[in-house]
Assembly symmetry: none
DNA sequence: GGGTACCTTAAGATTAGCTTACTTTTTCCC
DNA sequence: GGGAAAAAGTAAGCTAATCTTAAGGTACCC
């Protein structure tokens, strides 16, 4: 199972060095030289983890961090040349998974990344169980009593967002924000249609869902405890 | 939710300092001054995470690490005075979740611990206790003697408003403002109905409330001190 | 004991969400 | 580049959970 790691750093030398290290270790890498590129890459295909430099040409890593985490609670490790206490505390305080200062040992970077990935994607590998349905994130498919259904891009994003918050209510606004950029109004009905289609793939009885539950007036919630 | 953290270090000064930091932050602490003590503590009651010094009187932290992880895959963060590359790599290579070198900032220790705990025990939507009722804000439910009741949107907003001001009186006007936009007149009676319904979910005797109290002429007040 | 403030219940109204079919857009393959 | 198939978006009628109204009842305070 190969993880896709997004490297956000504007120094070409460091970019290629890190890419080299990760590739050697069997990871798949994506590159971004600026905040804008990072967001673009992220939207195109969200990575499994992000290595993020604090200083970027078009903004600082901290605010980029906020934008990324808004969408997905994925592992983020800061890489920074600045070893000021204040910076480290800020980065970690925001909720980063690690803060590594340059220069660093290639080996240490790998180990720290591995430590985080191990916790986040522990036993799941790239599959998750949802009652009698099995989600394969890598392939983007759902299996239920033998049948395998492929998820569309929107369905995938929707399920992922709900899965990240599994057990908890996710507001309609948050879901719309995860599926579309720009103004999050006017898509409520479309969202419902996607919810329906997703239910048809993961639920035994789409009209009486056991997992993807409606919480009227508040949003939707992915019920993890075996359904009824 | 309080985590039990085991601190393994033979310097009494550092022991008490770390204990102080963690206690302040709301964690429960356990202490061990040696490998033997650590294993004993572990057997008696496995902690949720371990802070582990590398140098101990009766053995090194690395081998203790192995013994602990053999039994349980819990978070372990090394604390060490030795900042040799080789040590860091060894610690992380074994599968530790972090490796922090002394001296460290108390704040950083807390943040790094928090980062790991967040991943391992994915915090479920923070729960609040209200006497014998338990509110799960993430799920939008209330549990009382085994039974779980889902809150409606209005009930949720109402309870939230009262909880935010728990202990203090909230005026009818303030509650109406929280539940409806626009002019806050004409809804007083409706509010009462919602209060009633909320009481039916959180109170043992809705007509003789212990928590959601009426303050005649002023408003309502959420009584936090476990009523009876 | 009278008045006011709050409670309680049930029935009716409302509206958030469901469902289905249809249209438009995108993707992919020749 | 063009045509087919898949995905995404739109619309409209429907359903039922939830909210609101209303009317009679109860407790508290002077």
């Amino acid at each position: 199972m190969s993880f896709r790691i997004l490297i956000v750093d504007d120094e070409p030398a460091l970019q290629s060095m890190v890419r080299e290290i990760l590739t050697q270790a069997g990871y798949e890498t994506l590159s971004a030289l600026s905040c804008a590129q990072a967001l673009e890459q992220f939207r195109a295909a969200p990575p499994d983890a992000v290595l993020l430099d604090v200083m970027l040409p078009d903004g600082d890593g901290f605010s980029l961090f906020g934008k990324l985490r808004e969408n997905r609670d994925m592992p983020v490790l800061f890489l920074s040349a600045r070893d000021e206490d204040a910076d480290r505390l800020q980065g970690l305080g925001l909720g980063a998974d690690d803060y590594i200062t340059k220069p660093f040992l290639p080996q240490e970077l790998l180990l720290r990344l591995r430590a985080v990935l191990r916790r986040v994607y522990r036993e799941e590998g790239s599959a998750s169980k949802l009652g009698d349905a099995e989600i394969d994130w890598g392939k983007g498919t759902v299996r239920r009593d033998g049948r395998e259904a492929a998820l569309t891009a929107k369905e995938y994003a929707l399920l992922r967002k709900l899965w990240d918050a599994r057990g908890n209510i996710v507001t309609i606004d948050a879901l719309c924000a995860a599926l579309w950029d720009g103004p999050l109004v006017g898509y409520e009905n479309t969202l419902m249609v996607h919810i329906r289609r997703l239910r048809e793939k993961i639920e035994a009885e789409p009209s009486h869902p056991s997992y993807l539950l409606t919480v009227r007036g508040l949003g939707y919630r992915l019920n993890v405890e075996g359904g009824t």
